[in-house]
Symmetry: C2
């Protein structure tokens, strides 16, 4: 392909060069971490106590760029939980993504993001959001993030990995249109395929496993090489494949290496004559 195309194509540009294309500051920071730690692995911390969460973060911390949380499933969550986790994120240099999947109207989402039990905007670098309720939700989160006065970003659910999900190509396209209004706040997408060629946007892909095809509640899995090289994912999200392993740190290292090898393979595929 001609150099001009290559230069602006997300999939075939190294993370290090994509840094300068980010409009959202958290996306930029994330690409820097990915490049520095040579890891495009996000671990999904689907555990149910503060102790398990912090232990997991300590173990997988060195191997990951992002820790994805569901704070509402932590039975004993308190301000201390968030505080300690932020400490570990600083120690091991990773970002925190609260997988809240905001899906209400703007006014409600704003309260859920900034206050209540979880005061998410005060500790989470990133949050996931469904665009289903329309542009008001992004507007509301962005306003709230501005009030928090810290670098904040959102990751839009552009596609889902679960069987029979109702997200259509039209829905994904409509999400992209909404995202384009807020590139200063949108860090990227949760997706199964490449939804944008913009180098400043990061594609996160859940449903990744090295040895499992699905669960009994509709989740479907693919392996890291496939999602990175074939489907254009930047960051793979791994949950049960790591957290249910007897040695989560070691399992995370395996996934990290597989995902990074796939990323390097993708870059090579882009420059066949080099």
């Amino acid at each position: 392909p001609p150099p001009a195309v290559m230069e602006h194509s997300r999939r075939f540009m190294p993370f290090s060069k994509r840094v300068n294309h980010c409009v959202n500051p958290v996306a930029k920071k994330l690409l820097e971490i990915i490049e520095e730690k040579k890891t495009n692995l996000c671990v999904s911390a689907d555990v149910t106590t503060t102790k398990e969460l912090l232990e997991l973060a300590e173990k997988v911390g060195p191997e990951i760029c992002v820790l994805k949380t569901h704070m509402d499933i932590i039975k004993d969550f308190s301000g201390e939980t968030a505080c300690m986790l932020v400490g570990l994120a600083m120690k091991h240099n990773f970002l925190l993504l609260e997988d809240r999947k905001f899906a209400d109207i703007g006014n409600t989402v704003k309260m859920q993001y900034t206050s209540g039990k979880f005061f998410i905007s005060s500790w989470a670098d990133l949050v996931t959001v469904h665009t289903i309720s329309g542009p008001g939700v992004l507007q509301a989160l962005k306003e709230a993030a501005f009030d928090a006065n810290k670098p904040r970003g959102c990751v839009i659910i552009g596609e889902l990995s679960s069987a029979g999900n109702l997200i259509t190509a039209d829905y994904s396209s409509a999400s992209m249109v909404l995202a384009a209004e807020h590139f200063d706040f949108v860090s990227g997408f949760v997706s199964q395929n490449s939804l944008s060629s913009r180098p400043g946007l990061i594609h996160f892909t859940p449903g990744v496993s090295l040895g499992c095809n699905g669960d009994n509640l509709g989740q479907q899995y693919s392996d890291p090489d496939h999602v990175v090289t074939q489907r254009g994912s930047d960051v793979i999200i791994v949950g049960r494949g790591i957290i249910m392993d007897a040695n989560p740190g070691e399992a995370a290292r395996k996934y990290k290496e597989a995902a990074w090898a796939a990323y390097e393979k993708r870059l090579l595929a882009a420059v066949p004559n080099k």
Copy 2:
């Protein structure tokens, strides 16, 4: 219209006769409460402390059939919050609807519903759910509700009231198909229009106000008469119009009367020769 059609049409059948058409036990209980208290008003308790929540429930309790909550915006939520609220629900005979808008895959939603900070399945008669992630989410909630061993139901987000939302007619139809697989667990829909003529399914409509057209984050309002008579809503959901009133109990009574009058008008419209 011929009697056979009338008999099975949700919109033109009195609540009292619809009771026998319910497959889900919570839908049945709700119709009984509506008939007994002569109220099809649901108040949306968008307050941020336990004290405000319990005071509101005490004030509007006699006027409502359902109290809709967002427990994650209650700063000081604890087991006691839920416990006290259940007590008020029993005292004033209304149901609790946690407006969680579940929007994740089955495995995650199951944990969010049954455990974590809110153990929702232990106190909420009803929960709202987006079908966006596919059939797994209804299957997961239903299994979890079965484990809770209490009458439980879900309300599917079939349509939204916010400007520019991404729910299409196809999406709503797909939701109906998923609902049909779980009529034992589906109590009804959150909708803006009539999505089903089944008398056993209850239509809840948010975005209702007696004197306001919208907010600055995309919410849009209609008045009670319009949503009940024209759009086929069974239960109107009112938030800011009541909770921000200086006298929420009195405001609730006004909305209750308006919604009930609209319901009676709708029934009359169905039998022009009577």
